[in-house]
């Protein structure tokens, strides 16, 4: 490796100190520390330093949090410590939206203008901000603060949301919802809104038949292990230890649990493939990079029931024969991250994590990792790359994670909601769990309801309930409003027609109408919402979030956005039929030839909108019906 370091100036004391908090002080001159006599004779670093490559992203976070950007000197110092080529480290840093690579404002307020917030007026908030504080992204005249437009912040049940990112000796990361222009302004001027107190639990709703996954939300104190145990916490882990790994997997198989992250893959198959692999070590990962626009279920679980996430990950580690688990949580969820970290510490202090869990000879550790603003990092193999300190680019499959996952080892990875279901399965047994819902979709499902409804929020209902029933519960359509379409599954999902309201919300039911529940987003949109505008926001989202690796997605998402702009402006290229054909072709190549699910679904919503006539390729004004 030809490392060329130190060309761009040295790191400041503050930068070095911030990095050293993550990596420990440098031990030799080779690592950027003081030069000792022996350093002239023996080389330190090398393989041992490179084995710590997975600390690259945490070290970059440390720089960003301390000084507000990643300077050449700071990057060089991290590279020296970890023996990472600076070009690669730069490649990694530049793939994340929350890391800056040029000096800029130390306070940035990211204001959500994504689909859910848009449906309730985010654009007018942004226009006020533009008037008051200048265009998004511009710090202007060395000002220390700027606001930016942000993709979904997972606060869709509250209306408009903002994420404060402030660098300094005491860095601050806060998400506030709902916000108005005054509050954004106060944050730009230095106010810290503080974290919401434990009493601010969101209202979660069901249909009266009793909550299961959400049972403890607002009931337990999310910062207290004792409170969690008083609500039956850690019973599932004890049960798992009684059943043994194969027994746990058998229960999950009997429960017919399917993954809730979007792909609906049988969880038991995944776990068994890892548990029976001859390769060691194995890893288990909780995918908490919830970034699908309109989705907030995992956030609610992590913020208000964090011990359940840690307990279920421990069960997963036990069942799969893994000694280390990771929770990868998106950078825009500071409260959830803080509570999870605290839960891990408390569980460790009480012997529920560590070298000998519950005194049963099962060693298990959990590490919480923070993302840095990349939707693509929620794709499981991109997530592995992100943890490993590489660019968050999806890998080609096969090999699947169960064969070669994190660090190239067998890895089981599940979404937060899927994992928390495991606790229910162990509590009541697999067959009883399978008794709920329908034959093909067992258990309950969390529905993230936002958009044109009276009661947005997180709903837990057994699978099989109809879309109509869910919308009734949520207060939709609002009196005097006409429902035009429901976006199911978020930006990667599809629009369904009000005529399909009697479709049961199950994996198989939605498949039959060519839709999917994806991450559980249910976003009804009525006549007050400009659906063409929502479609353009979706196109912009995919253009921004594509990792850029494969051609169909990298260029296809650009062409798709351009095409929608033409339609919106009523200036199609050639005939309307030509534009429709172009849109079809773009959809086909992205769906068929992209590497990962992002590209494969990037045209879904827009194609369904065309099919339903919500947007059209009519020559004039066709985009705004």
């Amino acid at each position: 490796m030809d490392l060329r370091l130190g060309v761009g100036g040295a790191a400041t004391e503050a930068e070095r100190a911030a990095v050293d908090v993550v990596l420990g002080p440098p031990e030799s001159g080779w690592e950027g520390g003081g030069r000792r006599p022996i350093d002239g004779h023996v080389a330190f670093g090398g393989r041992a330093a490179r084995a710590r490559r997975h600390l690259l992203l945490p070290a970059l976070h440390a720089l960003q949090d301390r000084v507000g950007w990643i300077s050449r000197g700071g990057l060089d110092y991290v590279c020296t410590r970890l023996t990472v080529p600076p070009a690669e480290a730069y490649g990694v840093a530049s793939a994340y939206a929350l890391l800056r690579l040029e000096p800029g404002p130390t306070t940035v307020v990211h204001v959500c203008d994504d689909i859910a917030c848009r449906a309730v007026g985010a654009e007018s908030l942004c226009r006020v901000l533009e008037r008051r504080y200048g265009p998004a992204g511009e710090a202007g005249n060395g000002r220390a603060a700027a606001w930016m437009r942000s993709p979904c912040l997972g606060q869709c049940d509250h209306g408009s949301a903002a994420f404060l990112q402030r660098a300094g000796e005491r860095p601050r990361r806060r998400v506030v919802a709902p916000v108005d222009a005054d509050l954004v302004g106060a944050m730009l001027e230095g106010r810290d809104p503080g974290p919401p107190g434990p009493d601010r639990a969101p209202r979660v709703r069901g249909d009266g038949s009793g909550l299961r996954l959400l049972r403890r939300i607002g009931v337990v104190d999310p910062t207290s292990l004792d409170s969690y145990r008083a609500q039956g916490g850690y019973q599932a882990l004890r049960r798992a230890l009684e059943l043994g790994p194969a027994g746990v997997i058998r229960e999950i198989e009997d429960a017919k649990l399917l993954g809730r992250g979007g792909a609906a893959f049988p969880t038991a198959l995944k776990w068994r493939a890892v548990a029976t692999s001859p390769v060691r070590p194995r890893y288990v990962v909780c995918n908490a990079d919830e970034s699908e626009p309109g989705t907030f279920k995992d956030r609610v679980l992590m913020e208000w029931d964090p011990f359940a996430v840690i307990e279920s990950l421990t069960v997963m580690g036990f069942a799969c024969g893994a000694e280390r688990g990771y929770v990868y949580i998106r950078g825009e969820y500071p409260l959830a991250e803080e509570r999870l970290r605290r839960a891990v510490e408390e569980a460790r202090a009480r012997g529920l994590l560590g070298p000998d869990v519950l005194g049963r000879g099962f060693p298990f550790e959990v590490e919480v990792r923070r993302g840095a603003g990349a939707y693509i990092a929620g794709e499981e193999t991109a997530l592995f790359n992100s943890i490993e300190g590489r660019r968050p680019e999806p890998r080609n499959k096969p090999p699947f994670p169960a064969q070669s996952g994190l660090f190239g080892k067998p890895t089981a990875i599940n979404n937060v909601e899927t994992l928390v279901n495991v606790l229910e399965i162990l509590r009541e047994g697999g067959p009883a769990f399978a008794g709920l819902g329908t034959a093909g979709s067992t258990g309950t499902r969390l529905f993230c309801v936002s958009g044109s409804v009276e009661r947005p929020g997180l709903y837990e209902l057994p699978f099989g309930v109809t879309l109509r029933r869910l919308l009734e519960l949520a207060g939709c359509p609002r009196p005097g409003h006409t429902l035009r379409a429901v976006l199911l599954g978020g930006a990667a999902g599809s629009f369904v027609d009000p005529g399909a309201l009697d479709t049961p919300l199950t994996f198989e039911g939605l498949r039959s109408i060519g839709a999917s529940l994806g991450s559980g987003v249910v976003m009804p949109l009525d006549h007050t919402v400009d659906i063409a505008d929502i479609c353009r926001r979706i196109a912009r989202f995919f253009r921004d979030e594509s990792c850029g690796q494969c051609v169909p997605c990298r260029v296809g998402t650009v062409r798709q956005e351009e095409l929608l702009e033409r339609l919106a402006r009523g200036r199609p290229l050639g005939s309307a039929a030509q534009e429709t054909a172009l849109l079809q072709d773009l959809g086909a190549v992205m769906r068929d030839a992209s590497i990962c699910g992002l590209g494969q679904t990037a045209a879904n919503a827009i194609q369904s909108a065309v099919r339903l006539g919500l947007i059209g390729a009519a020559p004039a004004g066709g985009g705004r019906r």
């Binding site: 490796m1 030809d2 490392l3 060329r4 060309v7 761009g8 050449r72 990057l75 080529p85 600076p86 070009a87 690669e88 730069y90 490649g91 530049s94 793939a95 939206a97 890391l99 690579l101 040029e102 992204g137 930016m148 603003g373 990349a374 660019r391 080609n396 096969p398 253009r543 921004d544 594509s546 990792c547 850029g548 690796q549 494969c550 051609v551 169909p552 990298r554 260029v555 296809g556 650009v558 062409r559 956005e561 351009e562 095409l563 702009e565 033409r566 919106a568 402006r569 290229l573 030509q578 172009l582 072709d585 773009l586 086909a588 190549v589 068929d592 030839a593 992209s594 590497i595 494969q600």
Partner: protein
Amino acid sequence: MSAVFVGLPRRMVEVTLDGRQTRVPEGSTLLEACRQQGIETPTLCYLENLTPVNVCRVCVVEVEGSRALVPACSRPVEPGMVVHTDSERVRTSRRLVLELLASSVDLSLAGPEVERWMRSYGADPGRFGPPAPPRGAGERDRARAGEHLAPDGASAETVAQPAKVDNQSYVRDYSRCILCYKCVEACGVDAQNTFAIAVAGRGFDARISTEFDVGLPDSACVYCGNCIGVCPTGALMFKSEYDLRRSGAWDESRQTVTTTVCPYCGVGCNLELHVQDNRIVKVTSPLDHDVTRGHLCVKGRFGFPFVQAAPEKDESGLGPAGGE
């Protein structure tokens, strides 16, 4: 005579390619199977001497039972696979991949094969509108992840930008870059282990970059030129070739290629000297050469001026420095 290890015998795997049953060695890729059967499969990011990265997606084929198309270049054959390489889905995807690339990248030096594929798949890159005006120097390099200027749709965004000319050995013209990752692989684990360049940025703004886009002289580049050797589109080019092309003097029909052995050390790398008008204009090495696998070092690649520092103007017989 010494024994030569020819490798362990490989099991044969039966697959069906376009309706024909065929047997290929276990562990081969679908691309190898197609080539063995004489089925032409276009490739852009694939090269024999590099690890397949399967990013260009022009080699996709349809495997029965698989939801999406699969990249032939990296997918190993499995017993009983039924593969279609010329179905409607495959043709559409290949055509679109070529259209998307050609509408955003200058493919004029990507070789006659690409032109032929464009014709045979009926690719029409003009469907996306006229190309947008080129970006200024360094503009694409400053693009931030998750942000972009809103398009108006009237023109198709491209990667057009001025070429980066920052050293005497080679030129980087990223308006020709299809982001095939080959140069990154050759600079890194697959050949040189220098890691001077990597992919930076995200989405359409992803680009090949040094750290903070510093010039090559400030980077870790050792000027082995292996990135030039693997570049399929002429984005990376000898300075000598670049200058000749700019002046309009580049003429491959007047060039000869002489294979020789590098004179510098004892490794024995084969060199192919491309000569025009009695001047060496570029140096390559054969991909199938046992020693180099197509890769060279700075001396073999660029250390040729001494050959032609002959006393063209120097009649003293004292060599290049003789006049002083």
